[in-house]
């Protein structure tokens, strides 16, 4: 029992509820949400420390033992993700201070943001499939409101699509849970794993697992991503940055959990399908990123490419691939937030997101330009920045599993990604300056701090890769050995 496990969920929840009760005081809203996110990050560091010392941490809510009660489980994988997402959420909230606008702030922007984080952290921590569904819904409902908050025309039309596709996938999720419960008689993930390992993963179970691939494929934008480019480019920068950084990652997390802990017996069906979907995602995403000449569109298609790459590591089902995927997942949360924040800043400066209407920003905004350059190198995996190690390990993992085509596609799309973001850099920052400081629509005052923070983080993650590698290895180990997870939840004599 470790009560610290509940803190990443209830700190944002309680803070959000308090903020709803004090609607008027915007300054209080700002500082309280920033502090809540810092506190969440500190708790996750504490959890990481506990996990290194004592193994996977669990909490049985209300003292009801698993598999009857609800379990919360923190292994290194989920704690690393909570830490990263807290840092990124902090950066986005600080970015929102100056950019989101009074109207949205008065209409519960900060509480909604915190409820979104509640759902994200809950999904990372829960050890119960139905609870995963609930936490997904907490996250999605907050994201519906955040997406439509402000009520501009494009936001409303995109929210309708976004809500429809998510309601559809959530109902499929529920159907999948019902099937699984009918087959196994339990929804505790560790217990599910034991039951399925005992009775063997037969055809029916595998079919249900395919249903889960569809569900989480929709949520994670794995191949079924056609809703994503529109809805992620509609809301204001701070919101689209947190969406791009976190929402698809929660779907990816769920895929990892399901297909390393529960459905790992038939990799020649499920993991191969995941690999094919990953390859398709990378290719189509890269084509989209290359084809468009609109900053927002290019960046949203880049979100899709990285989903495919991370899933390629999962599909390889090897230790190397897992390590790479975890590295890349952490890198991607940071870098996507960074790219969206810089992209949003460029758009607010110039008032347009079309590449051919902007040029020569490097003269008026050198720091922004060079930080974007760093981000560009990092997202395409140039050493020594943070994207490099993940990409190398994922490629090696896929080669080890003899999915040469998958690793090959990963490398080719990396080049296309580099081209697509370099295109933004060259068009926007090079060339003749066609926009003087007086003509700018927005300002970079007060929004530079989060960008600097995330740029520093991507450099630090690249240079200090040795420092985080022990944690990543621990996370990959527990993903590769479901036994650790099961023993932590059900006790060492898990023989029922």
């Amino acid at each position: 029992m470790n009560n610290a496990l509940i803190l990443p969920i209830i700190i944002p929840l309680i803070t959000g509820a308090i903020l709803v009760a004090f609607r008027k005081n915007i300054q209080f809203h700002r500082w309280a949400s920033a502090i809540a996110l810092i506190a969440t990050g500190l708790v996750s560091m504490f959890l990481m420390n506990q996990i290194t010392l004592h193994g996977i941490q669990t909490l049985q809510l209300g003292g009801w033992e698993a598999p009857f009660g609800i379990s919360l489980v923190a292994d290194m994988f989920s704690s690393l993700l909570i830490l990263t997402s807290s840092i990124v959420a902090f950066a986005c909230v600080v970015y929102a201070f100056r950019s989101i606008g009074k109207d949205r702030e008065k209409n519960y922007f900060y509480p909604l943001f915190l409820f979104l984080i509640t759902g994200v952290n809950g999904s990372f921590l829960t050890g119960d499939l139905f609870n995963l569904f609930v936490c997904f819904e907490v996250m999605l409902i907050s994201s519906y409101v955040l997406l439509s908050l402000g009520g501009t025309k494009i936001q409303l039309s995109e929210s309708i699509k976004y809500i429809l596709i998510n309601v559809l996938s959530s109902s499929l999720f529920l159907v999948g849970i019902a099937y699984l419960y009918a087959i196994t008689g339990t929804l505790n993930m560790a217990h599910l794993s034991v039951r399925i390992a005992d009775s063997g993963q037969d055809g029916l179970t595998t079919t249900v697992s395919l249903l889960f691939i569809v569900v989480f494929g929709l949520k994670a934008a794995l191949f079924l991503f056609y809703w994503l480019p529109g809805s992620y480019s509609a809301p204001p920068t701070a919101i689209s940055a947190i969406f791009a950084a976190l929402l698809t990652k929660v779907g990816i997390y769920a895929l990892f959990r399901m297909f390393t802990l529960i459905f790992y017996h038939e990799p020649q069906i499920t993991h191969l399908l995941l690999g094919i979907m990953g390859a398709g995602t990378m290719l189509l995403g890269a084509f989209g990123a290359v084809a468009f000449s609109d900053i927002k569109k290019i960046l949203t298609y880049n979100v899709i490419v990285s989903v495919g790459l991370i899933i390629a590591g999962l599909a390889s089902a090897s230790f190397m691939g897992m390590t790479g995927s975890i590295n890349y997942l952490i890198h991607d949360i940071v870098i996507k937030a960074l790219l969206f924040l810089i992209g949003g800043t460029i758009i607010s400066l110039t008032g347009t997101s079309r590449l051919d209407e902007v040029s020569g920003l490097i003269r008026t905004h050198p720091y922004l330009g060079w930080m974007f350059f760093v981000a560009v190198l990092s997202v395409s995996g140039i050493p020594p920045l943070s994207g490099f190690i993940g990409k190398v390990l994922i490629t090696r993992g896929t080669f080890e599993a003899s999915y040469f085509w998958l690793g090959g596609i990963g490398l080719i799309t990396s080049l296309l990604v580099l081209y697509s973001v370099m295109k933004i850099f060259m068009n926007v920052f090079w060339g003749e300056t066609n926009l003087s400081v007086e003509m700018e629509k927005g300002t970079t005052n007060g929004v530079m701090f989060p960008i600097v923070l995330l740029t520093a983080l991507t450099v630090a993650l690249g240079l200090g890769v040795e420092g985080i590698q022990p944690y990543v290895n621990l996370a990959a180990e527990s993903l590769m050995n479901p036994r650790f997870y099961i023993e932590a939840v059900l006790g060492s004599n898990a023989a029922f």
Binding site: N3, L5, L13, I14, A17, V20, A21, G62
Partner: protein, 141 residues
């Protein structure tokens, strides 16, 4: 503007609201051992409020009941999570509950359970959010 003839509706709802509210409270308390509880009790209270909204109009009801229901929902969530977090001080798992029997004047030997506090939070959260939803979709704008 001509007022609609809703004498019957008004006469019935004055009594009905009282009955619904009493029944909701009964549901709320019976929830500890029998079917019922905070969620359904809260919905009962909401039903009574909606009947009032229909019989009179929203302005009249809000004048007599000047409560911001969004805050009610937030306070409900705080109470519910707060009782869960109370377990931090007793070194028990989050959401642990306890109960005891006490001799209270008038009531005699009574069972007091911490789960009731949690249920109270749930009830407030349900009332707050349900009424907020009704108020929002009934707005003209």
């Amino acid at each position: 503007m001509k007022r609609p003839n809703d004498l019957l509706l008004r006469a019935v709802s004055k009594v009905a609201v009282l009955i619904i509210l009493t029944f909701s409270i009964n549901l709320f308390y019976s929830g500890h051992h029998n079917p019922g509880g905070g969620f359904i009790g809260g919905l009962g209270v909401t039903a009574a409020l909606i009947l009032l909204f229909l019989t009179y109009d929203i302005e009249t009801v809000t004048d007599n009941l000047p409560v911001d229901f969004k805050k009610v929902a937030a306070i409900g969530v705080l109470i519910a999570v707060g009782t869960g977090a109370g377990s931090f001080f007793f070194d028990a798992a989050f959401l642990s509950q306890t109960f005891g029997y006490f001799d209270i004047p008038v009531f005699g030997k009574t069972e007091l359970a911490t789960a009731v506090l949690f249920d109270l939070g749930v009830a407030l959260a349900v009332i707050g959010s349900a009424v907020t939803i009704i108020q929002t979709i009934s707005e003209d704008e």
